[in-house]
Symmetry: D2
Subunit: 273 residues, 4 copies
């Protein structure tokens, strides 16, 4: 079982929480905690109680005493992912392979794309697929919402989905949305980061995965990485190399999310190890 | 205050230890734990009690109940280092600069070298220095032991000291000894690792810092890193680049040690973050 | 067009070769050269002559004068790959996706496996597939040779193919064979590298791609990479993380080969940038 | 001898230049070239002619034919550096040690600082030192210019010199100026990059070394690198870690410059390998 929680910091919190686990006869296998700006964050991986929802109900009492927000997860249940994608293939394929090879503890329950070319890929891997044309801008989001209302899912992952998400959509969707941006944010915000990077003559190119909020490319960052580029790389080469780092960073973010290691707090993320 | 401890694993250990801290009104600032092969390892960084040695005495009772070995450290006290070096300059200089720039929480209390050329460097930085000729092999270690008997120190760091340490010396010295080996162990054990790496045509060159035990280059590894090499690098270039990675890895190992983050157990190290 | 060549070093070689290109009115787009142990190595990427095989015939005269071995390649022609695999999926899938997403300039012409489970994957991607049971050790290699005799291919890539290649097979196959070994060679040779790495307590885990020669895991190294591991990683975690670095290193080696950037010489490789 | 040159691209350039070397009986040890936006760039490392300035005069004729700008350098002559620094110690010390340990082929001919605390360091290493108070803003640059007029030097290196360089100063100084900025440019321009990075919650912190031009932190980038940060790092930790990456990147840039590997062209740099 995984417990992910945070509350205002005070002396004795670890004692209170670990006593609760001990009195339930649960062995703590891994405990990570962090304190930042007066807030206490904790992730505990323990042996599994007979009944997780029963544990959760009893833990709620303690949590209320210490003003704590918490979630508990069974390690047996996979995180249910909806993939949004456009025509770009490598990034969604990476996530699909992550599921197949079990390097990601996820189940892709649906793919939504504004390109019909993705359909045969979804079919190859037996994943439900919906094509939604994005030409009439506002209407396609209404279709998305209709589809999502009928799906049981935990997170939306934008695998190089090139359409901007509207505030209206964000307000109607309560589950988190993870995006991959093909630059080292906050450098090169927007749709042409490689061109901007080439022009500026940088020696590193990056990718950033972040939660989506209403400000474009400004959401809490989950994972980032870079690769070195020399003068020899053309813009075309940079894009190809960039695709590799994007895939890697996006996978890493989805892995952390599906392992219940991320707490989002006031515009930043705590990402446990 | 830092507590570093380990004991056989059982349910309720975190609760017992954190209760002790809470009852002493100490706030846990950072807690890391790890379980491996039936053993439980923990490092706690907390607010400082009025009297650390008094805390230690009281904690001893708990530790005996759970068969725990522990040490407590004040964060105010710097780790006292004795540097052994030969003619090679960059590695000892890196550690000296680490002290000066306060990137390493250490105090170099003595330098021992079999090369007189190190003396002016030691003098420049006002560090006690002893020259011990290493020509007559057994006698020089007797001199080392005499010098060390009169110094208050925590750890010996072999900063590219090119003489083999005898079993006899190891038995007489109870403090730990940290070495830097200029290869990615267990590859290329011995004195000519770059030559062996060049011959084998490897594409990465590394460095390894480890505790010294009686088996040459076989002690518990603390830190390792590598750098990529292409065909263009001559043996001479590799040695120059290697010096950089050696310095970095050695510094990292000494930093972890002086921040009380390392537990050595059965031939491996637990190195907290 | 790509020219890849080497010969004994002497003054004026670059002039002779570049004069030949200039007199053919070919613009040199990229030139890389290297000298090592008395041998001169060169790779030239140039504009394409009307007739490459005609160019090759005329260049042969120059090459004989300077005792040069050379090959010329059209950048339009993809490298034809035969994949050997066992039950492990991620590594072969990475190479298949490399072809689909065009990050690798290859065409996988055949997959040979000793596991029937690979068949549906091959079918999904419309790749010819042969199942060859490996139970009777010597006979399966005879089957491999029969299959290979009927295929037009450039290179065999062992994508986590867990059977040892015999000397006899190597003598009958004139095309190069690229392997991926799941450790940082020369550390941890053999079939259980992660177990050995865990036991030794190393802080880095690696992967090595190399040409296959008759000595197990001793062939010329093409690419290597590592990732950092802490004490927190179990053996199982290490294997999962290792799979990622294996895929990356194997892809990189195949990319370099298919871009005609590798010259093998006396047990080492020159890998151009 | 090193030749560093560039000119408009055309067919036959490599032939013309390598013929010149061959006719002078100079063996080309290493040749690197690059073409970008219609311009051809080349660096040749060759055996040394009897008289370099004589070679240079004769090569000038060829260069004029092909509209080439070029410089030739003897590998025996070290690059003469003037260090500007403020109170921060690690960065200038890294460069000083680079000279002492011969990992940088430079000679530091003078240190200029607006902090008297640097003086004893300069004296320890027998380097000429000038203290110039920076309180009256315009006057201190006049003093700098006076000092520089009396020194034979190749490059000014700003080793964490925290004063802005005026346009007026730049116009009067014809030698290049290399700066180290403590962020991954173009992110976090200005004087408080770590604070900005912490606020934004980035997962990587970087450093950038660049030539100084009249636009603050906008000059051509020479080298960049980053390190991963987790949520556990305080702002203070980030600054300490940052100091290490700054030193490394600044050293790398000065190394490339002093090995005559950098060509600056239209706001970007070509940095040979």
């Amino acid at each position: 079982m995984i417990l992910l929680a945070h509350c205002p910091d005070s002396t004795g919190l670890v004692a209170k929480i670990s006593n609760f686990f001990a009195s339930d006869n649960l062995n703590i296998l891994k405990l990570e905690e962090h304190t930042e700006r007066g807030q206490f964050f904790i992730r505990i991986q323990s042996t599994t109680p007979k009944n997780i929802s029963d544990f959760s109900k009893r833990f709620k009492k303690l949590s209320e005493e210490i003003d704590m927000q918490f979630s508990v997860y069974s390690e047996q249940e996979k995180t249910k992912v909806v993939l949004f994608c456009s025509a770009t293939l490598p990034t969604p394929l990476e996530i699909i392979l992550g599921e197949i090879s079990e390097s990601l503890p996820i189940e892709i329950v649906h793919i939504i794309s504004n390109h019909e070319t993705i359909k045969p890929i979804a079919e190859k891997f037996n994943i439900n697929f919906s094509y939604v044309s994005s030409e009439e801008n506002n209407l396609h989001e209404q279709e998305h919402i209709k589809i999502l209302e009928n799906i049981d899912y935990d997170v939306i992952c934008l695998a190089r989905y090139m359409k901007i998400i509207s505030d209206d959509f964000l307000q109607k969707i309560s589950n988190p949305i993870i995006n991959i941006h093909h630059s080292f944010l906050p450098s090169f915000i927007g749709g042409r980061p490689y061109e901007m990077a080439f022009e500026r003559g940088v020696k590193l190119i990056g990718a950033t995965s972040h939660f989506v909020t209403k400000d474009l490319d400004e959401g809490p960052i989950i994972a980032q990485d870079v690769f070195h580029i020399g003068h020899g790389l053309s813009l075309q080469d940079m894009k190809k190399e960039g695709a590799n780092i994007e895939k890697k960073v996006f996978s890493e973010a989805i892995k952390k999310f599906s392992e219940h290691k991320i707490i989002e707090w006031k515009g930043r993320t705590i990402v446990f190890g």
